[in-house]
């Protein structure tokens, strides 16, 4: 057996199978590429497939299961066989269809799923065991012993799995997204699509014409057809020019509309730079379009069906229409001596085109009986032997076709030598976009095709996609569809003048396979799904085992689940199943075609937001300053916050944080707390509103004072907390946790707009308006006196704990001052307009220096709140109640508020619920770990003894001990008890005493200082 490649060893520059007249290539220029390391040449406009065929290369890949040698079946995106790894290194693209990979100078491709080489593939041996490896064989074995699955069988299977290899490194290219709006989206630029775009475009409608190919024209480029006496592809080019001249028409080539989504939204992928060796600087490789269209004309054409017969996967067996594409568009003869096998008149055209190109046609085999169709005439015109009522029963050759066995109507078999078999089972309308919303197509017996029945709103189908197969009718159908679509958008559309097309016949008699005695155990390998190696036998076996629904067939045999998603196999499979189960095709059903219509790179669906730009980063007003201080940042939601501020000589973060805590406890520190949500609330009913959203009372809060508030969800569990200050009679500013800032805003709007529209109140976020800086520590007041303008009295009497008011700072800058303390020290939060936050930090450093001031980060903030027993995120986790957090008494009984009723349910008021406690290890050096579970001291480490968990933990430099907050069953009643902190993940048990959650200054004297 000879490798086809070796029979036509290429000389650089020579393309032995190139013929004259390719309308889509620039034959005047030659470019180079490599396949499996070997140098070849081609022309701009070639695909990798056409260029390989030009060199006589037939063998392009290996199949998934049996590693059968495979060639090039098609000339389009439906290709199941010729899949390659395109490019190398981080740009390696597995499973790229050679039939749509545009050739560029320097292209490098490699075959895949073979070892050691494409011509000799060791796993080709699988083919010998195919009778064991039939559909679903793996469900029936590999079960003993149980442990061997992971150890032996699965690794074996996984080694054989997959086709190409993903790149080993991050994709270096950029991707982009965009949204486009139009009145009429036209999908496909064959005769129907061009006519539709012209009709709609000339009405003034906004039209987007998407063509997944690099050139407009569709089959007009693939056929030797005349329109108005000119080659049809010329008309396509003129139509394109005419469209280009219309200001509201946008032509998008290399753009595949891959999905129909709700509300007239379509997903489309534009291949911006795939036809170049790599994108230019700043250029995205691909662009994802969300196209919002009022109307959509699907003119996506049709896909030719192979015929199922033994050996139909041998390299050199091609779709008849693809052969014409290679001849007419690319100027490539895919063989030197061809047999044409068809069941329809369209397939016969291949014989004509081959003959015209000088390729010997050894025979035309037409499945239809003598006298049906135009076979005899065509055969005569080409001077070719004609076999009516015939069938191809076998293919000779392993690596490439060397001949075929043909059975005539009388049952006589003959062998015909050839290197190309062009087959046509008819055309299946490309209706994928019509089924994405769950509308099932119906089978049309006359056309032997599934056609859309119901359509998504705003969608029409035209041309071959609607089963309108002749050029003249497709033009007319497209023009009508385009005009109607424009009219539906309110434009006065007329049908454009259409060119005159020659008469043509598309007559067809159904033919899906050439197998005798359905079903038969003797069938040789006749492939239905090429890539996944599903044979007619597999379909029969599945049916025998009861997998007779199309869904079951698909899942049991993996039919239609390969990279081509059954484009060339689904209809044949349904027809075969129908025959085996003796049902009409229409009643056998069809599976829905899932989006995308063509595989879409994950990078393109992801777009530009990658790596560090995965999500936007919100920066606080002091961010730059903190950076200049060498702060270490941490993400808090989208915010970046300073976690701590290391100083030279500090050994680790813990040392830094301890120093920051001590600074606050002993002198003064400051911390940017801008990220807390801040909501400005104004209106006559503001107080009443707060009464209803918070559990506690608000009406008596005086102007100039702040109060801590707790919100529940309506189901009675704690939701969020924070302080709200009354700035005026009807003016409040609420703070929320950083995490819930957006959620609380939505919640307030919900309550206001939906629950209590009668309340007169307005909200607006002021989170970004103010740089809010906590200044905390015994020296806080002294430092602030240097910042707050002297007319404002900061004395304890004039501005006590929980006071709030407007001040000016640094000589007249408007500011707000709140005497709040999260740390438990004498503390303030000073808010200045955000633009001054950076300068305020610098000023605080300057004026605070004599007092020993230092900035502190979120870590020290967290340590101090644990020392003070303030609940935060780990305690307010959506599973806890006010009671659990030690705030049960805050729940007012004198008013309705969100969550009040559900909070009274028995399980929420059970005293045995885990409740907030402090935990102090008996040995201060024993680390307390958040997430450890609380068990009675000495109890066995089982779930039955589990009584709670450690929610937050830290080393307290103030106490010189690790400490924790936890939620412990019956907690408040157990102060003094010793419990065991179990952390089986780390293998540790720490004994700790249950204490009050307030570790530092339990009387709260310092905040009043």
């Amino acid at each position: 057996m000879m490798d086809a490649r070796m029979t036509s060893a290429p000389v650089a520059g020579a393309q032995p199978r190139r013929v004259a007249g390719g309308n889509g290539i620039d034959a005047g220029r030659t470019i180079r590429f490599t396949f499996d390391g070997r140098q070849y040449t081609g022309h701009p406009g070639d695909t990798l497939a056409s260029a390989l065929l030009a060199h006589g290369v037939r063998l392009a890949g290996r199949s998934f299961k049996y590693h059968r040698p495979r060639g090039i079946l098609s000339a389009g995106p439906e290709e199941p066989n010729a899949l390659v790894e395109l490019r190398t290194g981080p740009r390696r693209e597995p499973n790229t269809r050679a039939t749509v990979a545009e050739l560029y100078d320097g292209l490098s491709a490699a075959s895949q799923n073979r070892w050691p080489s494409l011509a000799f593939d060791a796993l080709g041996l699988n083919s010998l065991f195919s009778s064991v490896l039939g559909a679903g064989f793996y469900y029936k074995t590999f079960m003993w012993p149980a442990a061997f699955w992971e150890k032996l069988y699965e690794p074996m299977i996984r080694r054989a799995a997959g086709l190409g290899r993903a790149a080993d490194e991050a994709d270096p290219d950029q991707y982009e997204k965009a949204t486009a709006f139009c009145d009429v989206l036209v999908v496909g630029s064959g005769p129907a699509g061009l006519a539709a775009a012209l009709a709609a475009g000339r009405s003034g409608a906004r039209v987007i014409l998407c063509e997944e190919d690099s050139l407009t024209g569709g089959r007009l480029r693939a056929e030797r057809r005349q329109l108005d006496g000119e080659p049809a592809w010329r008309w396509a080019e003129q139509a394109r020019k005419a469209l280009e001249a219309l200001p509201e028409v946008r032509i998008m080539e290399r753009t595949c509309v891959f999905g129909t989504y709700d509300g007239g939204t379509y997903g489309a992928l534009e291949r911006v730079a795939d036809h170049q060796s790599q994108p230019a600087k700043g250029q995205p490789r691909q662009r994802l379009w969300r196209v919002v269209a009022r109307q959509c004309v699907v003119a996506a054409g049709a896909l030719e069906r192979p015929i199922v017969f033994p050996g139909n996967d041998t390299p050199g067996v091609m779709l008849a229409g693809a052969v014409r594409t290679y001849l007419n568009r690319f100027g490539v003869a895919p063989g030197r001596r061809a047999v044409v096998y068809t069941c329809n008149d369209d397939g016969l055209r291949t014989a004509l085109d081959l003959a015209r190109a000088g390729v010997a046609v050894a025979a035309i085999v037409d499945s239809r009986p003598e006298g049906e169709g135009q076979g005899a005439q065509v055969a005569q015109a080409c001077g070719v032997p004609f076999v009516p009522g015939g069938a191809v029963t076998a293919v000779q050759g392993r690596m490439a076709v060397s001949g075929v066995s043909v059975r005539d109507a009388q049952g006589r078999e003959q062998r015909i030598a050839c290197d190309l078999l062009a087959m046509s089972g008819g055309w299946s309308p490309n209706i994928a976009l019509t089924t994405h919303q769950g509308m099932r197509p119906v089978y049309d017996e006359t056309l032997c095709a599934f056609l859309p029945a119901a359509l998504p709103p705003g969608m029409v189908v035209a041309g071959a996609a609607a089963g309108v197969f002749t050029t003249a009718e497709a033009l007319r159908d497209g023009a009508q569809a385009g005009a109607r679509a424009a009219q539906a958008c309110g434009f006065a559309a007329e049908q454009p003048a259409l060119p005159e097309a020659e008469p043509e016949s598309c007559a067809i008699a159904p033919l899906f396979h050439a197998l005798a005695d359905v079903p038969s155990a003797r069938w040789a390998k006749a492939f239905v799904d090429f890539q996944n190696d599903v044979t007619a036998k597999d379909v029969a076996l599945a049916a025998r085992e009861g997998f007779v629904s199309v869904e079951h067939l698909k899942r049991y045999t993996t039919l239609g689940m390969a990279t081509d998603q059954g484009k060339t196999s689904n209809v044949n499979a349904i027809a075969l199943l129908a025959e085996i189960t003796q049902r009409p095709i229409g009643q056998t059903g069809t599976t829905l075609i899932r989006p995308p219509t063509q595989p879409v790179a994950i990078g393109a669906l992801a777009g530009a937001h990658r790596g560090r730009h995965f999500k936007p980063a919100r920066l606080t007003p002091t961010h730059q300053w903190a950076e200049s201080q060498g702060a270490v940042f941490t993400a808090n939601g989208l915010w970046q916050r300073a976690q701590w501020y290391p100083r030279p000589g500090e050994m680790d973060w813990l040392q830094t944080v301890n120093r920051e805590v001590r600074t606050v406890r002993q002198a003064v520190g400051f911390c940017d707390v801008t990220t807390l949500g801040k909501i400005d609330i104004q209106g006559p009913d503001a107080a009443e509103f707060l009464e209803r959203v918070y559990v506690n009372a608000w009406k008596k809060l005086p102007v100039g004072r702040a109060r801590y508030g707790l919100m529940l969800r309506e189901d009675g569990f704690a939701y969020d907390d924070g302080t709200t200050a009354r700035l005026g009679e009807t003016h409040y500013v609420m703070t929320t946790t950083t995490a819930n800032a957006g959620g609380v805003m939505a919640h307030l709007e919900f309550c206001h707009q939906w629950l209590w529209p009668e309340l007169d109140v307005q909200f607006i976020s002021v989170t970004d308006e103010w740089a809010q800086i906590a200044v905390a520590g015994p020296q806080a007041r002294n430092v602030l006196r240097h910042v707050v303008d002297p007319v404002f009295d900061l004395s304890n009497e004039a501005f006590p704990y929980m006071a709030a008011g407007e001040v000016t700072v640094c000589g007249g800058v408007q500011a707000r001052l709140f005497r709040l303390s999260f740390s438990g020290e004498l503390a303030y939060e000073l808010a200045v307009p955000a633009r001054y936050g950076d300068a305020l930090a610098r000023r605080l450093m300057e004026v605070g220096a004599p007092y020993g001031i230092a900035p502190y980060g979120t870590e020290a903030l967290g340590v101090m709140r644990i020392e003070k027993g303030h609940p935060a995120g780990p305690e307010l986790n959506g599973q806890t109640t006010a009671h659990d957090l030690g705030m049960g008494r805050m729940l007012s009984t004198r008013k309705d508020f969100i969550g009040r009723h559900m909070a009274q349910r028995e399980a929420l008021t059970d005293p045995a619920r885990p409740t907030l406690v402090g935990l102090q290890p008996l040995n201060p050096a024993d680390q307390v770990v958040a997430g450890a579970h609380l068990l009675p001291d000495g109890a066995a480490a089982t779930a039955a003894s589990d009584q709670g968990w450690v929610s937050s933990a830290a080393f307290s430099p103030t106490l010189g001990s690790w400490i924790g907050l936890g939620l412990l069953s019956n907690g408040p009643a157990r102060h003094g008890e010793i419990v065991a902190l179990h952390n089986p993940l780390a293998g540790t048990v720490v004994r700790a005493r249950v204490v009050s959650p307030v570790f530092v200054d339990p009387e709260g004297a310092r905040v009043h200082g």
Partner: protein, 94 residues
């Protein structure tokens, strides 16, 4: 999917967040426990037209009452929740 905000116009669903059934009503303060369980937890969850609450959080911050078919995702009506709630109050008051 696109929602037509009565204030902002037709927008992609990514600008909105969903809250659920808009036919349930918060019980009066003195309603019994069963009424609260109904309100907070029980849903008709129909396969067909469904009145539901959406929030145009990335837009004008309006809560909306949307009527949408849960089988087809087709939207037949969008109203401002506040207007709906106010109209109900007025009806109730009559």
């Amino acid at each position: 999917m696109r929602l037509t905000c009565p204030f902002c116009g037709s927008r992609g669903v990514e600008e909105f967040t969903y809250r659920g059934d808009a036919t349930v009503r918060r019980p009066a303060g003195d309603a019994g426990a069963a009424a609260w369980v109904d309100y907070v937890y029980l849903r008709d969850n129909p396969a067909g037209p469904h009145q539901e609450l959406w929030y145009h959080g990335a837009g004008c911050r309006s809560w909306l009452v949307v009527t949408r078919d849960t089988r087809t995702h087709l939207i037949s009506d969008v109203r401002a929740a506040r207007a709906v709630a106010q109209a109900e109050r007025e009806e109730g008051a009559v």
